[in-house]
Amino acid sequence: MADPFDIFVLVKQVPDQGSKAGLNPDGTIDRAKAKRMLNPFDRYALQAALHTKKTYGGRVTAISMGPPPAVEVLMEALEHGVDRGVLLSDRRLAASDTLATAYALCKTVQWVGRFDIIFCGLQTTDGDTAQVGPQLAERLGLPQITYCQDFKIDDHRVHAERIIEGGYQKLDSELPVLVTVANSYHPLEYKSFRGAWRVQQLLRNEVEQKKYIQTVDLDVIGADPDRCGLKGSPTIVAATEKVGEIGGNCTMHEGHTASVLVEELLGCSNLKEFVKA
């Protein structure tokens, strides 16, 4: 058998959509106030990474950048069967845009070491850009497969299916490669019993925890602080505005039987014109 694969998966902790996550006056997100969760898109990336390990053998490293609580998403990844986690956490990273984030993640990836394949989520629910994956690939000089909804690996090539408008592409790439996983890929399987058990052990024992989750800062990975955070970000949020209530002139139909309501609707709209003859 070939060498086992070194599989990296990038996961991010995001504010829970359901919670009242406030925006700071400068337009950045007030993460302290928000409830936290694993970026839902990254669940597909995690599944792709674990599937790769299960099918082809290897080791999965989950990598995240964020404030200290982000360790929670690495724990969650461990519960699902990831082998180890690396958290990049540093105050100087605050207010990083996608370019600065991709720089910091690039330095982290290079610090962690050799890899065959990197999985990213398609996008995040807070940044919501889908840019970090391709920007990281550019910095690492890698080919990339975005919007990947299925793949297999043989003979050190990835054969993948990528969604495009109104169809899909079949493509293949040499390893190493960066893949962003679409949410039409398989959903994340349940936590593994072993993983969950291990995390229970880790939570009780800090020394043990350090073996599975490493926390690093910019100095450890040798990143240039000037290329991170606000300083390293070419974009800023200059202003946010509330989207005004639009419309408000909806013709309402209510308080009658269904058949009367539908008659009313057909009476005061041109819906009939679209009926198939």
Binding site: Q17, L23, G27, I29, D97, T98, L99, D126, D128, A130, Q131, P134, E138, G141, P143, Q144, I145, Y147, I164, E165, G166, G167, Q169, K170, L171, D172, E174, V177, N183, S184, P187, K231, P234, T235, V237, A239, T240, E241, V243, E245, I246, G247, N249, C250, T251, M252, H253, E254, A258, S259, L261, V262, E263, L265, L266, L271, F274, V275, K276, A277
Partner: protein, 368 residues
């Protein structure tokens, strides 16, 4: 005493639109970008340029001129027949490096292609990129933050990249005036194309294609567009969309039945039901799904969250069926029915069925 504000002006480059074609078919988003780009270029007093990559492009460059471009850079080469990240990236990087002055602004569509390519270009040139904009403009900006003193000053002509922002009903204006090109991708269906003018004059400039061995690490075996079978949400005249109010995946059967009453129709969905796995992702309408602009949009059991609204609010006629009279969707629908969709929709199907048979009778009569 107030200090004099330092005015900062960058050399005025062009506004560059990266055109998109799939299997030789020019994508509508490109024409929308040319519409937006024309406005920006006129306001800046600079040129609107467009680069198109592909093979056997025939009259496509001419069409780009007709739709607003002053200059079209053309890379027509067999290796560029289908989009591939690395080959297209190479041509675009080479083009940008060959320009004496970098473009002031560079725009792509927020499509699977644009979102694949734009971040690579932005990372290569270490410049700012704003994803998925719904509005674009140019205007002044005074940067006061002293975090980086070299950035303080008044920037006269920066790109305002405007996009819906996290969760709440907010729009964010994102700027990056420090370095050109200032880049953005725009969501399909948001910008207005110009009316094509075949008489418009423009320059067509062939550009070199110099691929390197590493650009071949990624190959595309096949590009399949599922004619007929594929979901044509963005081309449908009528979209019947289902949300969490359907109660279960089975509810979508009813959505298909209602859609079947109309010609050129499709079934859409809210994110919540896609996340629940009731229907596949390609049905999703909204911020993280598709932007649609059908003639009729029928929302069944959808609350009308901002993220859903931004994907469909430009539809011609919006009909909402929801049992909660306070649902936000009634704030922007044109016609609203308050009621249980499981009573309303079957009744609609019944009454529309009658319309259908009337139409059929009509057809028969007219042939006599």
């Amino acid at each position: 005493m107030t200090e004099e504000v330092k005015r900062i002006a960058t050399p005025k480059g062009e506004v560059l639109v990266v055109a998109e074609q799939i299997l030789g078919e020019l994508q509508p988003v490109t024409l929308e970008l040319l519409g937006a780009g024309r406005y920006l270029a006129d306001k800046l007093g600079s040129q609107l340029t467009c680069v198109v990559m592909g093979y056997n492009l025939a009259d496509m460059p001419q069409r780009l001129v007709a739709s607003g471009a002053d200059v079209v850079y053309v890379a027509d080469h067999p290796e560029l027949y289908t989009y591939r990240t690395l080959t297209y990236r190479r041509v675009l990087v080479d083009l940008l490096e060959s320009l004496a002055v970098p473009p002031h602004i560079c725009l792509l569509g927020s499509t699977t292609t644009g979102r694949d390519l734009a971040p690579r270009i932005a990372a290569h040139f270490e410049t700012g990129l704003t994803a998925d904009c719904t509005e674009l403009d140019v205007g002044p900006y005074e940067h006061k933050s002293k975090v980086d003193p070299s950035k303080v000053g008044l920037y006269e002509e920066c790109l305002y990249a405007i996009r819906p922002s996290f969760g709440e009903s907010l729009k964010a204006r994102i700027l990056g005036p420090w370095k050109n090109p200032q880049m953005a991708t725009t969501r399909p269906g948001q910008m207005t194309p110009l009316k094509p003018d075949p008489g418009r004059q423009g320059k067509i400039v062939p550009i070199p294609v110099n691929l390197k061995p590493e650009d071949y690490r990624l190959v595309v075996a096949e590009t399949l567009r599922e004619a007929g079978k594929g979901l044509k949400l963005q081309e449908a005249d009528v979209i019947v969309s289902g949300g969490y109010g359907l109660g279960s995946a089975d509810g979508f059967q009813l959505m298909y039945e209602l859609a079947a009453c109309f010609s050129n129709s499709a079934v859409g969905a809210s994110r919540k039901v896609v996340d629940l796995g009731w229907v596949p992702y390609e049905h999703q309408v909204g911020q993280t799904g598709k932007t649609v602009r059908p003639k009729v949009y029928i929302a069944c059991g959808i609350s009308g969250a901002i993220q859903h609204r931004v994907g469909m609010s430009k539809s011609g006629l919006i009909i909402a069926i929801n049992k909660d009279p306070e649902a936000p969707i009634f704030k922007f629908a044109h016609q609203g029915i308050v009621g249980d969709l499981y009573q309303i929709v079957p009744e609609m199907i019944r009454q529309l069925g009658k319309v259908k048979s009337e139409k059929e009778v009509g057809t028969v009569v007219s042939t006599h």
